[in-house]
Every structure is written in C-alpha cells, then in structure tokens.
C-alpha cells in the first residue's frame, strides 16, 4: 500500500506503508544510530514524535523483546528507507513489522530518508503526517499540522503506580561479564533466555535505596542501579516531593522523558523541593532540564535536536571525551546559568551546547545525554558509579 509523509512546509514523500493501518500527525525527528532501532522505538522520550532512522536498513535482527526499554513502542510513527523482510538474530521473537502492527504504530518505508533528514536539518524539526490517503488535500491538512504540539506528554508515559526493583545481591544474577559470555545450548533450547552480558563488576550500590522519578524512564536506568546492588523505587512523575522525602531514600534519580520541559510546571515545582533537601540527586536528560528550570535556569529548543549514538561529550572535570547516546530536542541555556547555583560539567564537543551540570554546594549532578545507553555507547556508564560514590561520601 502506498503511504505519504506530508511535512508542514508542504514537502511530500511517497513511499510504502508499514506497521499499523493508521493515520498520524506528529513531530518529525531523525535518529542517526546505526543499530538499536528497538531501543529507540521503546524509549518513552519519543512519545509525541515520529522517528526517522537515518540508517537505511532497519529490522535486520527483528525484535528481541528482552531489549525493550519500556513496555511498548512510544513514537507515533516510524520512517525508514527499507524494512528487512527477514529477522535474523538468535534472540529474535517477532519481526519489526509484526511489532509495529501489534502496537498500533504506523509508518512509511521506501522514502529518501537522507533527503528528509536534510530538510529537517535545514528547516528545523517540524510536524508531519503519515497517511495512506492518496487524495489528501494539503491545504486542509496544513492547519492541523501547525496546530500539533506534544503537550503534557510526560503524564502519558509515566508509570501508573509506584513500584520497587530489588537490587542484585549476587553479581551472578547480572549475567556473565561481557567477556565471559558462554552459550548454554540446552537451556536456550528449553526457551531459557540467555542473560545479557553485563559490565558491572562490583555491587557498590548494595544496601542503597534510590528513588527514581519516572518521567518516561528507560528501563536501563533502573537496571543500571539495580545491577549495582541498589534497591530502586520507581515513582510516577506527579508524585509530590514530600512523599519521596518521607521515604528517605539515599539518593534520587530523575529520569529522561519526552516533550518540552517547560510544559512540566507542576513537576518543576516539586523538583525544587527535592533540590532543597540534602539528598544526593542524579538526573538524566529531561530530568536534567527540569532540575535546571527548578533552580532558575532556562532551556531552549534546538533546531533539530541531538538523536543518535555518536555525540562526543567532554567531562569538564577530567577533560576526557566520551561518546554518548543522545535523545533530546531541548537544551539548558548556559548563558543564563547562575554559577552560584550550577556550573557546566559536560559540554558537547560538536556544537558546544550544555551536556551536564554540577550543582554548587550540592550533591547534585545532572547530564543531558544517556549514560544508561540502550541504544548506543556504554562509555559513560561510570556516571552511575559516580552517583553511588557521591551518595556514599556525602549522604546520610
């Protein structure tokens, strides 16, 4: 079936329909990761957006449900050059086509994704429609495209109720260290899933209670903490600060999430209260932006955002550069930063935008990128250890 991608500026791409049979309007963004389409699809930060993968061959290894970063795919639509007709991987459960259909996500394939990327790069992120209606009338669609916003999307993606993930008590539970992966043919034949290799070599978080505020958290944030031994309690986004403070956690983790941080006014107010406490806080992505807004800084929207797995970020405390996993459309404005409150801790080597803050006189540090990876480089996973160390040193 034919499908069309219609952009706000009037550009129309014709391609083939994939996924669920549905028409959508969404914000069109692109991601430059070459692998990890499933992690992208299940990253709640994409709620309210349709993602174009710049790598042209998508779906090659199918869907390995183990690798989902949340319970379902969140983007409104998927835009690819080509969808593989076979799914080749030893852990493959279903094909990407089945996955999209199952979860009601439509998409378009066979379009020139590079041309689309160039348009978004030059004109900035814009809204678009994916439809199979050959008789569409752009003039009619245009106002609908212009009217679209992601809105208060955090509330849609956060968990309904608080829940707890117990920390690992024995390193073996994490699965083998990546270098020590071994294959158990018999177990696999019986349908037992091979535990994924782990990078964690020490349960340095054992005994710590971490409160994780879920603004659309990727599963690997909680997993990164739990695999280091921390017990992680996950709270819905709108949980009052008082409830978290009352639970007296050793540390608070603010998660990633979708949308414009400034839409989260009530959450920002609660975060301000968390800031006032002495509880160590580590925040990622949206969490990082919300903490900045809660402490008087400002954020602005990037022209077309950072989405991919190849961005270099410099740790200003060591001068070291790490390749990071990124997914954000907004960024903290360092020009309006009060150094008495926070100073830049990480910077993007490509465009000099802020990638992290260190809060003056506080046990708080926040990053714009994704140390939990999934998809993307695992280089900055050490930040979870830094968080744990910070708790151990400066905590109760």
């Amino acid at each position: 079936m034919k499908a069309f991608l219609i952009l706000e500026d009037g550009t129309v791409f014709a391609g083939t329909h994939i996924g669920a049979d549905k028409e959508i309007i969404s914000e069109i963004v692109f991601n430059t990761s070459m692998a990890g389409y499933l992690e992208v699809l299940t990253d709640p930060s994409y709620a309210g957006q349709a993602v174009c993968m710049t790598y042209p061959l998508i779906g090659n290894y199918g869907i390995c449900r183990d690798d989902c970063e949340s319970l379902k795919p969140w983007p409104d639509g998927l835009i690819v050059r080509e969808l593989s007709r076979v799914s080749s991987n030893f852990r493959n459960d279903i094909s990407i086509q089945q996955f999209l259909e199952e979860n009601g996500v439509p998409g378009i394939a066979g379009i020139d994704t590079r041309a689309l990327t160039k348009i978004l790069r030059e004109k900035g992120t814009m809204n678009g429609m994916i439809t199979t209606d050959e008789n569409f009338d752009f003039e009619q669609i245009k106002p609908r495209l212009q009217a679209y916003t992601t809105g208060k999307v955090v509330e849609k993606v956060t968990c309904g109720e608080r829940y707890t993930i117990k920390g690992v008590t024995d390193l073996a539970q994490n699965g083998p260290l990546s270098g020590a992966a071994r294959f158990n043919k018999e177990a696999y034949a019986k349908g037992q899933r091979e535990p994924k290799p782990s990078l964690v070599r020490e349960l340095n978080g054992a005994g710590l209670q971490i409160a994780l505020l879920d603004f659309g958290a990727k599963a690997n944030i909680a997993h990164s903490l739990a695999s280091r031994g921390c017990d992680v309690t996950v709270y819905p986004a709108l949980t009052p600060a008082s409830e978290i403070i009352a639970a007296a956690p050793d540390g608070i983790m603010l998660s990633n999430g979708p949308g414009d941080p400034k839409e989260c006014d009530s959450i920002i107010a609660e975060i301000r209260k968390l800031y006032e406490t002495e509880i160590p806080i580590f925040a990622i992505c949206l969490g990082h932006q919300l903490m900045a807004l809660a402490t008087g800084a400002d954020t602005y929207k990037l022209k077309y955002g950072h989405r991919g797995g190849n961005h270099p970020v410099k740790d200003l405390s060591t001068g070291r550069v790490y390749i990071s996993s990124q997914n954000h459309g907004y960024v903290v404005d360092t020009d309006k930063l009060d150094p008495k409150i926070a100073v830049p801790a990480f910077v993007n080597v490509n465009d000099g935008t802020n990638e992290g803050l260190s809060y003056t006189g506080k046990n708080i540090f926040t990053v714009q990128f994704h140390p939990e990876a999934c998809p993307g480089p695992q280089d900055s996973g050490y930040l979870f250890d830094r968080f744990i160390e910070m708790i151990r040193k400066g905590g109760k």
Binding site: T11, Y61, S88, R121, G179, K196, G308, G376
Partner: protein, 1076 residues
C-alpha cells in the same frame, strides 16, 4: 594536549613492495600521514623501497630514501639524517617489525630517537601471542582457549573444560598435516593420537573451534589522554575461517543487535585502553552466531588494510588523525576534515551500506587452489556504496572487472541439487554465485546457512537478487519493475539480457520515466551536519518527492563556480597482478597536474586502498564502478569538458569508446590511435610506413588458425589475446599440442578481439616511456631488462640506464620511439617494448598510455613525466615546458627495478616466469655503481643472502652451459652446490664441484629433503621448454617457495644474483631521491 614541540624531524617507514596482504593501503595511509605531518611543520624523512608509491614523491616528504627496508639500512639513514622521532605504525607489519627491531636493539635510545605513537611495550603486548593472551585474561576479554598437550588424556581433559568442537594442530608438521577438527571424544582421540605421532616434537595444540562464528571488526582510535572512539565496525559475510582480506565485508555490521554491537564496541575500547594504544588500531572478534559469546581473534596496533577500508567507508581519515595523535594532539583538538564543524572525537555514522569484495588472482594462476582459508590470497579489493545491501553487492561485483556483472555470471545451473549441496561446502571466491544457484534450485535458507554458516540475512539478500532475475525473465517489464531492478543496481545490460530487450531500449525506458542515478554524499554524519566534502556515491531513488533537489547532494558549488573547465580522471580499479599501484600513482599525479592548470578535477574509482580515492585528492570523488553505464550517469550530471583515460591502465582505456559515444572528448591520444596500436592490421600498416621491423605473426580466432600460423612461422611462437594488460593469457608455445591448450584457455572467455600469434624472438628486451606533444618526443630514459625476452616485462629486472646496449642501438630506439609516437599521433604518454638482437631492433608492443615504469623513471630522472604528459595533453609543447626533445641525458645513478612475488601465499601456483606476469609488486635499488644498485634491489626484494651458503641447481639441458659459469661463481663465493643428476654431471665435468642429490621419486635423501631441512639458501630451477608439467620441477619450486627458500627460474636472474652477491657490501651508499 597540544602538539609536542620536541618533534621536528620524523622518520616514516613505509611497507615496501606490494605483496599479498600488504598492498596499496599503506601508500594511502603513509601519504595521508606524511601530508598531515608536513601540515604541522614537521620535517618528514621517508624510507620505502617501493618506487611506485606516491609517498616516495618529493612533494610528500622532505627526504625520500627508496632503499631496502632492512634494519642496517634504517640505522644508516638514522645516523645520516638524525631524526628526533620515528613513526613505525604506518608501514604495515613490515614497517612495525623494523621499528620494533630498532627499538629492541637499543639503537633508537642510543641515538636519541623516540618511537612516536604507540609505545614499544604496547606493540609487544599486542603482537606477542602469550603476552596478548595474558593481558586479555587480566582484563576479562576472552581469546579462543587453547593448550599444548603431549598426550591424549590431557587433550580430553582440556577439551572437557572448553567444550567441543576443538581444532587440533600438531606442532612442526608441514602444511598442518595431521590436524583436524574434533566434534566428539571419539574423533578427538583418533586425531590426537595421529597428530602426536606425526609431530616432530610430540605436541599438539588443542584450541576451541571458532570456525563458523561471525567475524566482526572494529576500527578504533585512542589518543594519549585516553579518549577513544570507534570509527566503524565491519561484518564479514564469510564466517571465521576465511581471512578477512579474502572475505566479502560489509560496513556497518548488519546482523548485530545493539546489544551485541555495543558489547563488542566496549570490548574493543577496553582492549585499546588496556594496551594504551595511541593512534589507530584494529580489533577482530569472533562472535558466536547464537549467543553472546565472543573471542578476540587479533589486534593490529597500527593502520591496516581494514583501517583503509574503514576510512573510505566512513570518510574518517584514520591515518591523518593517527599522525596528529602521534604528534601529541588529542581527538577533541583535531578537526573533522569532512564536516569542518565537528571534531575527530566523534564517531562516524553511516546512512548507507558499504560492501567490499576481494580481487583474487585465480585468473592468473590457473593451477592454484581457489579455496579461501586463513591465508590471504587477494591482491586487491573493490568497495561500493549504496543505500541498500543488494545494490552495494551488485556494484561491487561489476567493479571487480572479472567478467562478472550479476549473480548469473558463474554458471552452476548444470549441477544437480545434490551436487550443489556438496559444492556449497567449498569455500572459494565463487561461493555467493553457488548460493544464488542453490536458491534458484529451491534449497532452503536454513540448509544453505547450515552448510555455509553465512547469516540468513545475507542469504535473503542474495535471494532478493535471484527473485529479481526471475521477475525480469518472466514478467513483462513495467516501470515499477524497472525501478525496483535499478534500486538494487541491476545494470542495464543485465536487465536487457534477462528481458531479451536491447540495452539501449532499457536505457531509454529509464530516461523516459526519470529513473536515473542520483548522488549522495559520504559525510561521516548521516546528514546531521552540512558537509562540503565532495565524496559521492550513486543510488536510484525509489519515488519522487515534491522538492526533488533534496535528493541530490552534488551541486555545482561543491566543485567550484562553474568557471573552471571540468576533467574526468578515470581510475584503475582494483589492484591486480598486471595493473598495480603504478596506475594510481599516475592518476593522482594527473589529477594534481590538471588542478594546477586550473581545471576542476573529478575522479571515478572503486578501490578503497588507494591514494586516488582519498577525499581531498580531486575536487570531486565518485566512488563508483568503472563501467560505461556507471560512468555515463556521472557524465550526465557533471558534463565534463573532457576525460583522460591514459593514466588509469587498461580499466580506463577500455572506457574510451563509451566515453566518445557519450560525447565526452578524450583528452590526449585519440581513441582511433589507441586502437591502431592494438589492432594488428592497423598497427602493421603503421610499422610499414615508419619502416620499423617486428616479429612476423598473424591474427587468429581458432586453434586451427593458430596452428596454421605457428607452423608457417616455425616454433617457438608467442600466443596472446589483444587488448589485455600484464600479458594475461600470454604463452610461448613449442608445439601444436600447446597451441591447442593455450587457445582453449584464452577462449574460455569470449574474445572480442583476435588472438595474436607471433614468432618468438630471443634477445635483449628494452623498454621506453616517452611523452609526445604531437610533434616532439621526450624520452626520459631507456630501460633494459636483465632477463631475455620471454619473461614478461613486469616480471623482469629492469635497469635504467640501459647498461649493455651501445649508442647505435640507443639512437635507433630513440628514433623508432619518435616515429611511432608521431605516427600514432600520441598526445601524452607512450610506452614501447623492443627487442634488440645484435644491431637489429624490433618492436614488440606499443601502449599509448601510462605504464608501470612511469613512477620509477620519473623518480630517478627527476623528470615529472605524468605532469608533463598532462600539460602536453592540454596543448603545451615539450619545448614550452623547458625540455629539449629527444633522449635525455642519462642520470648519474643506476636504478634497478626488481619484481617481487607473492607465490608463497597462493597454494599450487606455478612460479616459473614466462610471458604472463606474476609479480605483485616491485622495489628499487639505486646507486652510482651498477653492482651496488643490483645488490640493493635484491636486498629490497627480501633476498638476504648468504644464510647457509648452500644452493640447489637443476636446469634444463639448454641452460647447462650457463649453469656452469654461474655455478663456478657461486662456488667461488664459498657456496656448496647440490644438483640433480644431469646438472651435477655437467657441473662436475666442467670442474665445478656439485653434490648429486636424488630426485623426489628416488630414495632419500632427495632434493625435497634438502629443501624441507631448511638448509638451503637458493634453488635455481629452469623448467623445460614451454610449460613444465613434470611433477618434480613443480614440486621442487612449490616446496622451495613454501619453506621460504628463494627460487629462481631464469638463468639471467641467477647471473644477476651472483653478480650482486659478488659485490655485496655492508655499508651502502644512501640516495635521497628528493635531492636528485
């Protein structure tokens, strides 16, 4: 960290002659690195014995030594030039080993020379087998578990800890005999017992078997501050078991999920961090296809063939960045030269798919085994880029120039299903064609995968291509079908063949429906940032969009403002025997010369190893196959003012006619004149007009006609196809039977042109390269071959200036050259081969184009031949350029070009020299004294004698006389001579002491025992006239080569060697080419 101010004079070690496994990629890396160093104001002292390289040009380095790459020579150069540092990681394994030897002997320390980049300790850790294994164990990175056992029980116990299957390798047996793979204890006991018995030391290595696992490579960079990145990863379509250089490789990996991808990426970074690499590094992994288990196969702490491929696949200039890191810069200080916005500390991301296919030399070695193993056999490779895998594969296939353009090109349709299943087990260069046939025969993906272990994803892609073949054959050709066929890069000629239509009709249908190639940019960042580097590949877009300009990355502004004239420089494709790096040298120099003359330059080429495909050589680079259709698509958008074909070898010459049809003027010698040189009748007419003699001969198509001509001329005769390079298919025939055999071989591929049969003339072979402006001819020099006619010019030792011919002959040659160049209306380069017999000079062959001797003659005469040729092409005259026409005064130096072979890499290849070229590379010996030059040339080719002072001679009867003279001279040098019966008799009779050894079939000790005993320096074995079919001679030569014994098959070569040994000297005079 900024640049280290103490680094001012750096010595760079090149990789020497091109051999299998060490090819043009090191010229590319070395050239890029030298330019990068010079950019930083560092003085570069370059040492490389290979004269065909760009890195040995005087504009690339400040001091250039084309000297043998031995420790002694390097020590001498260090003493003379006093560099403060040395960079050993750019010259392949050869350069690295030399650097390490200099370091370990303490020479560097005592001369205050620092090793730049990765330290010696790091190199030892990465290269030493045990050190590496220990280090990997320490950081928890797995290597394939292995243990040396001396009894069966230990073997069983160890295997129980690592699991079956295991590979068993007995120590010290020839060619790995007695080894094997054991899948269970019964097999283990059987093989182990046998192996322990066969092993001279009673030891067998038991190793976890990783054959069939996925082979994945990561190219990584690390700086002195510890920042690391991966440039890209690559997946071998052929699983572990085939050398990565012989595998079809795709970038990025296609079948790894993010979990596997990141697991191996993190591992690669851990490894280089632990090793403390500073610069580029390659890490190879074996990944279990159905688990997360992996093994580290190997780490190369230097730039490599894979890093060249990764550079071209991503646009990330690894060698350039490695050089900057060596100077002290960190990755975040080095600008990404492609985007000019981002920094080197970012990872390239691809929005396309890259396929590399090796170029294997089995068309040159008919007797060789085509099987692919862990020993690399490819001489070169092609790379292609497309936005889908099928298209990239199709493009790569037709880039090979091996008479293949689709998956039907090798025909296995006659095989039954059963035979096909059997054939699938064979791992050779035709495997993907066999898989295609298996799919046609309905063999399931699972079965194909089970046998080949090739991932289902790749098998499905081959199936998609097969399905398209079938659709084109069976369905009517709709626009949609055509569009889809073009999307996956079916060439028009293949579509025409399958649909039964004319190629012109397919093209018309495409143009009528707007199905045309559009060009995308390789920008390192998947369009995330605007880039201006003009490095392009083509795709056929599936559907139109409302703003079509967005499809296209090429724009006029990228190359200039349109005021400059545009010239198309056609490259020479993959490196193969007969068409090597020399033609890349010529293409690059022509490009630079055009650029200097104000032209906008456009290069089309598909070889990822070369300098010409570096992104900053031409104004625009199109990484595309060199077929008429692919070139026409580029012509359609670029509308060049002209194309130059005379620098790109036969690959470019072959495109002449097509280019003319496209309306592109050929710059330089006209196509009809090129034809006149190749077409027998036209050429005979020219020779008649110019009164130049040649060997009598005729043109034929069939064996019958050939025999007729041969008998008329009298044997021996030379048989060869026309329009070929490197004498492919050329043979000397001495009988009707041989004519029949050779004609059958030649005619296996349909010949568009007649086959030539000439009287074989024996004499001195002379070669000339010249530049002609249409009126005047400039001859930089005359080269003389040491071997008599009958040995291909590319395999002969070539001496400039010609040492043994007199003024009369030289004048005659200069005169003939002038007449031929004028008669052929040559504008640009011409290469002519002559035979001098007494006072007569005959012409053998005329090539109105660049040749493999151009780089070396340019360097030793100091005459920039390609540059002059380019200016002449543009209308300047030789006199205007400041040169007096005619034969130039001879240089003060003797320069001797020595061929270098890679026979040991190709099992079963016949090594004896003949009219068909077999060498893969060359080195140069240069000195004021002829003998010293000769000695240097042999030394540069790796002939480092004496070792044991023992040689074996076994020569045919006709050579016995010369054998006596040569034997006597070896005897005088203190060599012990062993000889087979009749040779020994002849030698002893003449008073040369020779010990008789038995033939292989006779009782021990035989000649073979001597060779295998590793006590022999040299074998001189001249095969009986014509093609030697005697098992003995072939076996002697093969075994000599495989045990590392130098083997000579022509008496002239033997004489040259003994002459050089008589004049051997420890202290060589060094020549700085840049100062000539």
């Amino acid at each position: 960290m900024p640049k280290n101010p103490n680094v001012k004079r750096v010595m760079v070690i090149g990789s020497g002659p091109i051999v299998i496994g060490q090819a043009a990629e090191f010229d590319y890396a070395g050239t890029q690195a030298c330019r990068s160093l010079k950019e930083e104001g560092v003085e570069v002292i370059l040492v490389n014995s290979n004269p065909a390289t760009i890195m040995t040009d005087r504009d690339i380095a400040d001091k250039v030594y084309i000297e043998p790459l031995t420790v002694k020579v390097l020590e001498q150069i260090i003493e003379k030039e006093k560099p403060d540092s040395i960079l050993p990681t750019l010259g392949g394994q050869a350069g690295l080993n030399l650097g390490m030897e200099l370091e370990e002997s303490g020479f560097l320390a005592s001369h205050g020379v620092k090793l730049l980049g990765t330290t010696a300790a790091t190199i030892r850790n990465a290269e030493g087998r045990q050190e590496f294994k220990d280090l990997m164990e320490r950081i928890g990175e797995p290597c394939a578990a292995s243990m040396v056992v001396e009894n069966v029980q230990d073997g069983i116990d160890f295997t129980n800890t690592i699991g079956y299957p295991v590979v068993l390798r007995p120590a010290y047996t020839l060619g790995g005999s007695g080894g094997g793979i054991a899948h269970n204890q019964v097999e283990l006991e059987e093989i182990l017992e046998n192996g322990l018995r066969l092993s001279r030391v009673g030891q067998v290595l038991v190793e976890r078997c990783i054959a069939g696992w996925k082979e994945i490579e990561y190219e990584v960079m690390r700086d002195s501050a510890g920042n690391c990145i991966t440039v890209c990863n690559m997946e071998n379509i052929d699983p572990v078991g085939v050398h990565t250089g012989d595998s079809i490789v795709v970038a990025p990996s296609q079948t790894l999920s993010d979990k596997e991808y990141q697991m191996l990426r993190t591992s690669a970074l851990n490894i280089i961090s632990e090793l403390q690499i500073t610069g580029g590094c390659n890490v190879q992994f074996a990944l279990h296809p159905t688990s997360f288990e992996y093994c580290v196969i190997e780490v190369n702490p230097r730039v490599s063939r894979s890093s060249a491929l990764a550079s071209k696949a991503t646009g990330y200039p690894i060698a350039k960045v490695a050089a900057k890191i060596a100077l002290g810069y960190t990755l975040d200080e080095i600008k990404n030269a492609i985007t000019q916005k981002t920094y080197a500390s970012f990872e390239p991301t691809l929005d396309y798919c890259v396929v590399k296919i090796p170029r294997l030399p089995f068309d040159k070695f008919l007797t060789a085994k085509r099987t692919l193993t862990t020993q690399m056999k490819a001489t070169g490779e092609v790379m292609s880029i497309c936005d889908n895998f099928e298209g990239a594969l199709m493009k790569a296939i037709r880039s090979l120039e091996q008479h293949v353009d689709c998956l039907q090109s090798y025909d296995f349709s006659a095989l039954s299903e059963e035979d096909l299943r059997e054939r699938l087990h064979v791992v050779d260069d035709q495997r993907i064609w066999v898989i295609a046939e298996a799919i046609r025969k309905g063999i399931s993906y699972e079965d194909i995968h089970e046998i080949t272990q090739i991932d289902i994803w790749f098998i499905d892609k081959i199936a998609i291509l097969v399905e398209m073949e079938q659709a084109l054959q069976e369905q009517s050709l709709t626009v949609e079908l055509l569009r889809e066929a073009k999307r996956i890069e079916f060439p028009d000629q293949v579509i025409a063949r399958l649909t039964g239509k004319a190629e012109a009709d397919i093209k018309k249908m495409r143009y009528d429906n707007g199905i045309e190639a559009v060009y995308k940019m390789v920008d390192t960042c998947a369009a995330e940032f605007a880039a201006s580097t003009p490095y392009y590949y083509s795709v056929f877009n599936a559907e139109s969009i409302s703003s079509p300009s967005e499809h296209i990355d090429v724009n006029e502004a990228a190359g200039g403002d349109g005021s400059r004239k545009k010239v198309l420089v056609l490259g020479s494709g993959p490196i193969r025997i007969g068409q090597g790096i020399e033609f890349d040298y010529c293409s690059v120099h022509a490009t630079w010369a055009f650029s200097k003359e104000g032209y906008e330059t456009i290069i089309i080429n598909n070889n990822p190893e070369t300098v010409s495909t570096d992104f900053d050589i031409a104004d625009k680079l199109y990484f595309e196959p060199l077929t008429p259709e692919d070139v026409e698509s580029i012509v359609n958008i670029e509308h060049p003012d002209g194309a130059v074909v005379q620098f790109g070898g036969q690959t470019a010459i072959k495109l002449t006619e097509s280019l003319m049809k496209m309306g592109v003027p050929i710059l330089g010698t006209k196509a009809e004149d090129v034809d006149a040189a190749e077409d027998r009748e036209l050429f005979d007419r020219i020779l008649e007009e110019t009164k130049i003699p040649r060997a009598a001969g005729g043109t034929v198509y069939t064996a019958e006609e050939a025999k007729e001509v041969a008998n008329r001329l009298g044997y021996p005769v030379l048989v060869r196809p026309s329009y070929v390079l490197g004498g492919q298919g050329m043979q000397i025939a001495i009988s009707d039977a041989e004519i029949e055999e050779f004609m059958a071989i030649i005619n296996r591929i349909a010949q568009d042109h007649p086959i030539l049969v000439d009287k074989y003339l024996m004499g001195k072979e002379i070669e000339v390269d010249a530049v002609c402006d249409g009126t005047d001819v400039l001859i930089p020099g005359i080269m003389e071959h040491i071997e008599r006619t009958g040995v291909h010019s590319g395999d002969s030792i070539s001496v400039y200036p010609a040492p043994t011919i007199g003024k009369l002959i030289k004048d005659k040659i200069a005169e003939y050259t002038r007449r031929l160049a004028k008669a052929l209306h040559v504008k640009g380069l011409i290469n002519i081969q002559f035979i001098a017999q007494g006072e007569d000079v005959y012409v053998i062959e005329v090539n109105p184009r660049s040749s493999r001797t151009v780089p070396y003659i340019s360097k030793v005469t100091g005459i920039p031949i390609v540059d002059l040729a380019t200016q002449v092409i543009l209308g300047r005259t030789i006199r205007e350029l400041g040169y007096e026409p005619g034969l130039q005064p001879e240089a003060q130096y003797y320069a001797i070009k020595m061929p270098v072979f890679s026979f040991e890499k190709i099992r079963g290849a016949e090594i004896s020299l003949g009219p068909e070229m077999k060498s893969t590379g060359e080195c140069l010996g240069i000195a004021k004294d002829f003998h010293e030059a000769l000695y240097k040339a042999f030394l540069g080719a790796g002939v480092n004698l004496p070792k044991h002072k023992q040689i074996i001679m076994t020569v045919k009867d006709a050579d016995k006389g010369e054998a006596i003279e040569i034997g006597r001279r070896f005897e005088r040098l203190g060599y012990t001579i062993y000889a087979t019966r009749s040779t020994a008799a002849a030698l002893n009779e003449a008073g040369v002491k020779a010990r008789k050894v038995n033939k292989i079939s006779q009782e021990s000790p035989t000649v073979m025992d001597l060779i295998l005993g590793h006590k022999i320096d040299l074998v001189i074995d001249t095969p009986t006239q014509g093609r030697d079919k005697s098992r003995d001679g072939f076996l002697i030569r093969r075994n000599a080569i495989e045990t590392g014994v130098y083997c000579i098959t022509a008496m002239d070569t033997a004489r040259a060697l003994v002459t050089s040994l008589e004049n051997a000297s420890n202290q060589l005079s060094l020549v700085d080419i840049a100062g000539l």
